[in-house]
Symmetry: C2
Subunit: 362 residues, 2 copies
């Protein structure tokens, strides 16, 4: 019993071998090394042999073994992507942008879903990333804690963050604080004073970005002399979260704000849906502004600060590649500019304040 079970694996190995470079070489009548040179674009090879080898390879349907190539070259031709969520608009878009860009460069993408709560997250940092199955890493909205960040840099591969803090790694992101400030200023310019901020709970994972956006809102309010009116309403950073939070806020007639800055479009849209349900007219009784320009933003006529997550993903790929090419390239921060898209979820403060506060329902 407990035999060293050699044969099984050996046979599998054998039949999985389809055709190696040596067969290509034989068929082309050259040596392995010449064949390798001919297929790669490096080194001296006569046009004639190159041609012959190429034909032989094509005829045999030769595809180089990635593991062998990686072993020999030290490059995996693969980029790792770590993100905490997949089913949120922003993350999915960034991922698609990354994927697109990698595809153009002939690189593969292996995905690590490091959900904050899960115990899987620890395993990813401790075991999975340490395997270094990639040449470089892109961390999207990861917000790693101290220990995690340590692990990350210990990998010794280029890292680019999308969203988050860029002190230890190269970063691509919009200026969160600026975006929220501009959103708030838009409402201020429309005459609003009772402006609330709808955003994530401070203890939640999305915390860092949210905090920055909250900061932008806060300073805009203070600059307008409305420091006393600052109001931060906790909300899950999801559409239902925005809905639930807005239902609470709008239910209280006396304290109801006339305008809301949402931390992102999902929350903003949730708020709009809540307002409609409660019969609060948007924008006449309530102005709502978000950040993102979400897929659904147009459908809800949402005024928002548009960012382009796909482009951020693409930029991240370019940066990883740059670091790969020049290992001594210093960290950098690439800021993408959010642009205001004015639709009709925001409007000047209704002249008759009480009318706005009154329930519009019959």
């Amino acid at each position: 019993m407990l035999s060293p079970n050699g044969r099984t694996v050996a046979s599998e190995r054998t039949d999985s071998t389809v055709s190696g470079i040596s067969e290509v070489a034989r068929r082309a009548g050259v040596s392995k090394s010449t064949a390798s040179r001919a297929l790669g674009s490096t080194g001296y090879v006569s046009d004639d042999t190159r041609e012959r080898v190429a034909r032989a390879a094509a005829e045999l349907g030769y595809v180089p073994s990635t593991s062998a190539v990686s072993l020999a070259t030290g490059r995996t031709k693969n980029i790792g992507v770590v993100m905490p969520y997949l089913n949120r608009w922003f993350f999915a878009e960034v991922l698609e942008g990354i994927q697109e860009a990698l595809l153009e460069h002939g690189l593969d993408l292996t995905l690590y879903d490091a959900n904050p709560g899960s115990e899987g997250r620890a395993r990813i940092f401790d075991d999975y990333l340490a395997r270094k199955r990639f040449d470089g890493l892109i961390a999207v909205g990861l917000e790693p804690d101290h220990r995690e960040l340590e692990r990350l840099v210990a990998i010794g591969r280029p890292i680019v963050s999308v969203v988050g803090s860029g002190e230890t790694t190269t970063l691509v992101a919009i200026d969160e604080e600026d975006a929220a400030r501009r959103a708030t200023e838009h409402l201020l310019a429309l005459g609003h004073e009772r402006i609330a901020f709808l955003g994530g709970r401070p203890d939640q994972h999305w915390a860092q970005v949210d905090r920055r956006r909250l900061g932008g809102y806060t300073s805009a309010m203070e600059d307008a002399g409305l420091g006393a009116g600052i109001r931060h309403i906790h909300s899950d950073v999801t559409l239902p979260g925005g809905y639930a939070a807005a239902v609470n806020v709008l239910g209280d007639l006396r304290e109801r704000p006339t305008a809301v800055v949402a931390t992102c479009d999902e929350v903003a849209i949730g708020a709009i849906i809540a307002a409609r349900r409660l019969g609060v007219q948007v924008p006449s009784a309530l102005s709502v502004i978000g950040i993102d320009d979400h897929e659904y933003a147009e459908m809800f006529s949402l005024t928002t600060l548009k960012q382009d997550p796909r482009a951020q993903g693409r930029a991240a790929v370019d940066l990883v590649l740059a670091h790969l090419q020049d290992p001594h390239r210093p960290h950098s921060i690439v800021r993408q500019r959010a642009t205001m898209v004015v639709r009709s979820s925001t409007a000047p403060l209704a002249p008759d304040r009480s009318a706005a506060v009154t329930d519009a329902r019959a």
Copy 2:
């Protein structure tokens, strides 16, 4: 010029080498092979040596090189996942389910985003998948055409499909037709007769699933003797798509249906939002039922046939693993049952038909 540029790669290779198994062996005072056996759980190794080797490995922070292991064993410990979209609820959920399950098995996941329209899709099938960087493949809602399917099987690795047709591969999915039939029957049982189906354009990619669901709706209608009332309204299979389609349908007062079967919850929710905007009360003037039990379903009180995409993802992983273990395992079809979740987007047909048709607005 055009030097054989050897040194660059060589130096990179050298410094990337951190600590190999031979160093572990040396430190533990054993040979490479013994170290390998001790770390793997195979073969005869005394508990003492195993212990010593383990300690040495831990001290050196030894992590085996995936490429070397793959090369030697023929296994990549990696599963490929191909899907056409990432930013739709169903796909993201399946992906998370897959990821979770793979994590438990110590497997990596490389992602291929084969967007139907894109020219990248062809490259994925021709180049990327052919590289076989994975032991098995999971195709989610791929709906490959003939040529693509050919490529897929030519890879010679186990393939499991989630959603789609399961003739050539193992499949896990719900019974689409049955789900749509039950959704329709639910409305029929409530007394509705003017029931429309809101689904994808037949020329679109989601076509196969949509067609099956349409088929379920159709046969339920026919069985109820309402074959003449069958009405298929084309809609993009997205929330805004459902919204736009519903706006059209509901605009026509005379032809307005009293109930709608949506091909999925996103479309259903779009329809509900449209109805609300147009002042059509749900469910009193319009019943809406979907399929999915989307993240937002509860918030919209949507009655739906719940499926569990995460579980489907997990099941797909189990199946790939089973195929990996037994290469001669025959294809199979794993059907997951959709369960009806009744909320309040459906209600009995209002007794006064004209009242329902009248615009509820003041």
